[in-house]
Amino acid sequence: MEGFMSIDIFIIILATGVRLATPFLLAALGEMFVQRSGVYNLGVEGIMMMGAFAGFFATLQQGSPLLGIIVSLAIGALMGLIMAFVSVTFKAEQGISGIGLYMFGWGLSGLLFRLYVGGVTSIDGLKPIAIPMLSDIPLIGQVLFNHNVLVYTAFLLVPLSGIILYKTSWGLNVRAVGNKPEAADTLGVSVVKIRYQCLIVGGMLAALAGAFLTIGQANMYADNITAGRGFIAIALVYFGRWSPWGILLGSLLFSMADSFQSMVQVLGINFPYELAVILPYMVTIIALAISYGRVWAPAALGKPYERGTRG
């Protein structure tokens, strides 16, 4: 047990935890904007799967992870657009349309993978970039400053999202549309436009989260590589009470637990594999159970906007 407690392993657990937080952060921050504008996008998992495949495939074809990122962003924007079309323009029941989008993304990513790749193929993914000076700091350097570009992006997006949401007029409009769409509409803010924009941004970030899994972590694609992370990300939006810092806290708690759990397995500590895998899902349910309280939710969340039906 001495080895288990050693400082090196402790650093590995923390560094891995920081890296594993990335897909949760990206997808959850995107979903935060979507829900802040008053729409549930429960198709995040399906978008992530598409992003994971698109990023992987472009990298495989062209050998450039950067291109993989660009392609996955474009696919994510398209998927967000589909959701916007269905849930904003056609005012469909959002929970169900999200499931439709999930099944669509799940099926299509699997279909394309079988058609164009077929088996396990590894790619040259993103390389860690050690930040000069900072990465030399003992402990913290390895934990925080020796990651690939998507990890840095995800963490930088936390304060950036906060600034966009609370300090810009667009962020104000998003919050207005999510809380009081009638009032926003009266003031000349287009509810439809803001919701489209949020769903597209949310789609792009969800796809990026998926791309991280293939080109930033596994360096390959496998069926169901997202393993429910898209749904967990949605849960983290609730847990984080629709705020970037809350989402950061939730993502880190989650990824650290995950990192610790996988380390337990690597070290061969006797614990049934299946039960270890269950833990994150149990934690998600517990996190949802303790974060209830509707006061924090955007008031118009999940309600399609019908112009002129009030008053």
Binding site: M103, G107, L111, L288
Partner: protein
Amino acid sequence: MSSKHNGVFKQIIVLLLALLGALLVGALFLILAKSDPIKAYGVMFSGPLGDKFGITETLVRTVPLLLVGLGIVISFRSGIINIGAEGQILAGAIGATAVGTSLSDVPAMILLPAVFVAGGACGAIWGGIAGWLKARLSVNEILSTVMLNQIALQLYLFLIRGPLIDPKEVSYGTGVPQTALIPEQIWLSRLVPGTRIHSGLIFALVLAVLVYIFLWKTSRGYRLRAVGAGSEAARYAGIKVEWYLVLAMAMAGGMAGLAGVVEVTGVHHRSLEGLSAGYGFSGIVAALFGRLHPLGTIPASILFGALLVGADMMQRAVNIPAAMIMVIQGLVVLFVVSSDYFLRNPDSIVKLKAKFLGQKWIGEVGSKWKDS
């Protein structure tokens, strides 16, 4: 409000248009896959209807789709979006298998009902957990059922690989993760010799009628739908909303659990990997396509049963991966929920036409709001 004015005929037309839309978009992906969509769809639609094998296999798939779909109807009608059927199927299957294999000396007359009750109860508990979490702690049921699916899958795999693995797999050293066979006396009888179609079909059809009677002819069913129509209004009317949320999810889970039971007793005769086979999701599609009506879900389940069989045939005949059917099902959901818009707003079709033909339709909008 306007849904009452929509005749069954009109609803069927809209549904078929939604299916057509999904197939057309699907055709784009087939072209992308360098496949001939007409040939591929030809196999997919004609295959299941072509011979005795196709028709009976379609009905074999119909049974779990219908049972899951009935559960979805109950939960969606109560305002709960249950996507936990995958896990509930597995809970039902493993419960049925555990009872069936451990009490193999008990006569079928007692054992078969016991197996159904055990499997149904396991599914009901698994669904009821999500209902309770929603009722007591307002945990979003979509998220909790997704998590419960993952948990059920891992527990199921743990059980069929470990504690419940077929002793023969251990003694032969093959280690295939599956349980022992359930005793032959509780295998459901085959309706057509030489095929896999079993008496679970009759069971599912009877249950569809019972669910219809429950939802529309009993006061409990009425209250359940009232909760779905608006929980606040139902609360003011004195309905114990929380209790009905748990009841609805337990019933939905029970139905999915029974789907697991019939898959075990009727098809596989044991629990093995991949038993739920995506029925938990396809059942949602069937229920939506049946317009969340228990009797409408019957033809919808047959249709999607045929599409599932057809997709397998398509995979063999023209080498299109069966994942294509998931794409089509996802598209069907998106098209069906979008097409609701036209059923809710009958004027919108006129407006849409006017918009695309470049005419002014502002006057119509004005008159529409007056009507509503």
